[in-house]
Symmetry: C2
Subunit: 667 residues, 2 copies
């Protein structure tokens, strides 16, 4: 018995239906009516001929005769061209059948934005509709046993057990729909849901639990479609803006971890409610959830005290995939919904990085791939199919707009693009939610709805890079009025100078401290990357993927101008979108990937930046702007960087000028 | 590698410790310290010589040399006569070792009262103590993984996972006891509990959930000892005294099932608290529970609506063993304690009967065994190793003292024994809690503490039998003043007569209705037994076991006088104690028995009395007292039954007398 085009094959006893064989061999073949010959979804085309390569002589006579159900469908013209209902046709001998596209259950593959990775929809749960025989006093078995028997006879599926809360619903469901029920089976083993009659859709949530933002994607587990998304601020922010301040809160406050666990779970509940409402489904139709997040978020979500993650040796309680019942941790979905948290790599490298790996699969790459996920820390993965390294670099939250005087998260009204005229030093900018630049005559009108409220991560990268390119700051990051070009945009700011983007009702400036914060962050990121390159024994990477909201928004040219990331052909540097969230969605929709990521992670070598002597050296090295490389010179040709060109001509004498500028810092 | 005396054997890689080999082959070998060579519990005696039968040439040289730990124990004289510590000695070649009695973990076998059945202590959970290596930044694995690795290296036990609530306790436990912890592992697979340091004892509850009484036995899961017992009335009684009235309550009252579920679970909690208090243990040290009960009790405990069990075709929701977390149904023990309900047989024959079968194992018997468990219904099991039949007979609660005018449950103050002088018709009796008969001069003094409050099941059986034997009632059960012997103990009672046991402050009488209730009950029981004998195609059984409190209290002679049970050699009729409760305890202490009972039950043939035409016929047949049998004539010789002797001479003329008596019933 051979199925095409999958090539799946095996032996079955004579009399087995094609559908049963397909289910046994894991062939992707749809069936909705539970083998009653009604839904016509399971049509296949038996082949006639000698399949020499497979040693199969497939004959149409090796199938049972057309059944009454098939004849009926033929008479209605719904079964054409020699096709058979695989639930009715029984295998009597050697056979090859073709499963047409429209009979494949998982025909909808979800194309992930940005990367070409397709998710094959193979969820943890499958639906099966069965009709149970009437109870009979002469055969006093339980309805549970009848349900198990029907799953075997109609779907060839021997399930182990049924969750108790659903067992309670079994008899009422049978009574409501003339003894027809649909069950959801977890991993072909455990019945986790029972509904009366036919049920066609169930859903799952993929959640990216960031320390700042929590983002959920609600997916149809049968089709793979994303039917809604929702995000919210992480309410733990009230306990501390960054991870370390949250851990400190736990250390200083009895029950602080429980309080943070509670608010984050409540945020999950809100997200689930909003997503369900927007997709017009019931919360109870959500049966599965996957979660990614950094180790501290991950542990707090699971209700594990994260204190040991706040100090050396940063010991995780668990680095493995954990599956828990949603109800056990107060997440209100279907009562038997499962939650699967992806595994962690090390004390600083969490399930979010596992999600990035699952999304980008560097373990399958031939070339060297560098993946950088910038959040409050930057998680860095480097490697290829032969070897994977991972590290976390303490960038701090500057790239997210935090600890920046006018910083804000990426939201409407935030400045995301900045250009500085190298002659006048006047800025122009664009804000999220408005497609006009600030020097566009229509800007005022077009931005009226959103206003200008601050500057987000990508805006800060650009403005600092542009400040450098226009000479507002020097290589050391010092802001000063260039003697040749005093500008009203460079103003005194206490004992230092600041660069003014806008003044007025709302003043948006880039202060010396802001520049320092970006320098520290980018130096940490660069040093982490360099450390991994060192460990890998390579000088350059072939491809760089920037993950996360930050990665999606920044212009990679500017990232390279600042020296955030190591040298690479610019064409091979790009955003990989919210790869951690995509990883969560892959794990949600493709159950085998959960096992795969569990197998990949233990092979990832962890580089602990905190105990690597060279990290500090590289870090100090990388403070200057730009981090001097051949690439920078290349870049200055590729991009229209007037200042860069000027810099390329820089003579030693310029050095003195910069030093004198520094002295002129107001005091 | 062969272990004596168990005979368990197998191959292990060279270098395996004897303890690891023992654990792998399931050899009963104690170890408390987790292989540290400290507890000295795992001592074994290696054998030298050719074990021809087993093909093993055992040499002492096939063991690693004495370790430092062993030399230390030898020097303290704690390791004598060539013994080795099995956790230290490594196997290098063919070997036979003897496990001395004192190294066997399960040396304490618990003798069950009444029957000779021993319970081999093989609980669902085992304790393992491990010491984890210090966390290390260079090897950033999680403490969970370290725990799993330690269980493999110290106990050769690859566990799958750890319950989330316990994972939360892992790091605090490690911190508290210098990284030594004890874990409880469910079925060698799942860690369900974590404690700091060494933990030596855990406990389980075996609960017999009757419709009238709930009885719990608290057992030490390591030693098998029953450390406390507790019982309480089933608080569901407030919703209906018998099963059918409780089902009716559910039918008539929205949420009635939930209310009954709640009160019975609360009663479980009370019992657990009381048992734990009396054994001076913590509730959290209870990790396992087994429950038996009739199908309606069983379903209500699990939170399943029992309505379908109240009407034909009496369909169970589940007839299988169910395992749930105690916390999921509001039972407060250890947070991860499991509850296992034994399987049911049919709509009327529940997990209590499964318990009786597990206790008595008729499936292993050579001869025909009849087991009768009298509660509100009587469950009857008949058979031997070749075939088992089961039925339930609707006896009603009369045998338990319910629906009897002066009836009460078996408790101090209840009349449990009655004799009637055949000449004077004066009764004498004994009450529970006082060892003197009522005609003993010391009775008043001795019974002062308990008083006389009513009559319990065994007392009713005796008094009705004695009333018959003394002529107070006739074969049809009619009470009347025998013309020859008018007595002050036979008094008018409305339109019928009653027999007075005592008058005064408390009047205890047996009314005509009381006799009728007992007649109906015994006829139902007898008819059920006869039906099973019919189906089995036999005339007589070889052994009868009477289960339950009722079975323990009644004098089987009287049961046979009344014709409750079929003919059998009186020597082979006896109480089997609370066999259902014993079955629960067996399932608690011997995990493999749970699988066994799950395999036995589907083989039991269910006889549904309600649809058997002959049942009604047999029932009417069995109303008369005594049910006429040869056995009765035999009995009348064995026991000193003066009235029976007189009856044996009964001439047809007596019949007329009885009829005339009946006419003289007052009106």
């Amino acid at each position: 018995m051979l199925f095409m085009p999958s090539g799946l094959r095996g032996q079955v006893p004579a009399g087995t239906t094609i559908l049963q064989a397909a289910q046994r061999f894991g062939v992707d073949l749809e069936s909705i009516c539970g083998g009653q010959g009604k839904c016509r979804k399971c049509q296949v085309l038996p082949q006639q001929g000698e399949f020499v390569k497979h040693g199969i002589n497939s004959r149409l006579e090796h199938l049972s005769e057309l059944t009454a159900a098939e004849l009926l469908q033929q008479s209605k013209n719904r079964l054409k061209n020699g096709r058979r209902l695989s639930c009715n046709a029984r295998i009597l001998g050697d056979l090859v059948v073709d499963v047409p596209e429209e009979s494949q259950q998982h025909k909808q593959h979800i194309a992930k934005a940005i990367t070409a990775y397709d998710i094959q929809v193979q969820p943890a749960l499958h639906l099966y509709t069965v009709t149970l025989p009437e109870p009979d006093m002469h055969s006093p078995i339980s309805d549970k046993r009848r349900m198990q028997q029907a799953l075997v006879s109609e779907h060839d599926l021997p399930v182990m057990d049924c969750d108790m809360s659903q067992l309670r619903l079994l008899q009422p469901a049978l009574a409501r729909a003339n003894r027809q029920i649909t069950v959801a089976v977890y991993q072909f083993q455990q019945i986790v849901a029972v509904w009366p009659g036919v049920k066609e859709d169930i859903y799952g949530l993929a959640v990216d639990l960031g320390s700042t933002t929590i983002a959920a994607q609600l997916c149809n587990l049968i089709t793979g479609e994303v039917v809604a998304t929702a995000d919210t601020m992480n309410p733990q922010i009230r306990f501390g803006e960054d991870l370390m301040s949250r851990v400190s809160y736990v250390m200083m406050n009895e029950g602080g971890d429980a309080a943070m666990t509670e608010v984050v779970r409540e945020a999950f509940n809100q997200l689930a409610r909003r997503a369900a409402k927007s997709a017009r489904i019931q919360l109870e139709d959500i049966l599965d959830m996957t979660v990614v997040g950094n180790p501290i978020m991950h542990h707090l979500f699971l209700g594990i005290d994260p204190t040991p993650l706040g100090m050396a040796p940063f010991t995780l309680t668990t680095d493995q995939t954990q599956v828990i019942r949603a109800a056990d941790i107060g997440i209100h979905l279907h009562p038997e919904a499962r939650i699967c948290t992806l595994p962690c790599i090390a004390g600083h490298i969490g399930a979010d990085t596992a999600g990035v790996i699952l999304s980008e699969r560097p373990d399958l790459a031939e070339e060297y791939v560098l993946l950088v996920d910038v959040g409050t820390n930057a998680e860095i993965v480097l490697g290829n199919r032969n070897r994977l390294l991972a590290a976390s670099s303490p960038t701090g939250p500057a790239f997210e707009g935090a600890q920046i005087s006018s910083g804000q998260r990426a939201a409407p009204g935030a400045i995301e693009r900045v250009r500085i005229d190298p002659e006048t030093l006047q800025p122009r900018y664009r804000v999220i939610g408005c497609d006009a630049w600030s020097d566009d005559p229509e800007f005022e009108q077009k931005s009226a709805g959103v206003g200008v409220s601050g500057i987000c991560g990508s805006g800060i990268i650009e403005v600092v890079a542009e400040m450098y390119l226009s000479g507002v700051i020097d290589e050391d990051g010092v802001i000063g009025p260039v003697p040749a070009k005093p500008s009203e945009n460079i103003v005194e700011d206490g004992r230092t100078w600041a660069y003014v983007i806008m003044e007025g009702e709302r003043s948006i400036r880039i202060t010396q401290n802001d520049v320092r914060a970006i320098q520290l962050a980018k130096a940490a990121l660069h040093a982490g990357c360099r450390l991994l390159l060192d460990h890998m024994g390579i000088e350059r990477v072939d491809r760089i993927g920037l993950a996360g909201a930050f990665g999606s928004h920044i212009d990679v040219k500017y990232a390279m101008v600042l020296g955030m990331i190591p040298d690479c052909n610019l064409d091979n540097v790009g955003s990989v979108g919210n790869a951690a969230g995509t990883g969560a969605r892959i794990a949600l929709l493709n159950y085998p990937s959960r096992r795969e990521i569990g197998e990949i992670l233990p092979r990832v070598e962890k580089i602990e930046t905190a105990i690597e002597a060279k990290f500090q050296e590289y870090f100090i090295d990388a403070m200057a702007i730009p981090h001097k490389t051949d690439r920078f010179r290349e870049l200055s040709r590729v991009v229209d960087f007037p200042q860069a060109k000027r810099k390329a001509d820089t003579s030693p004498g310029d050095d003195r000028k910069r030093r004198s500028r520094r002295r002129r810092t107001p005091d």
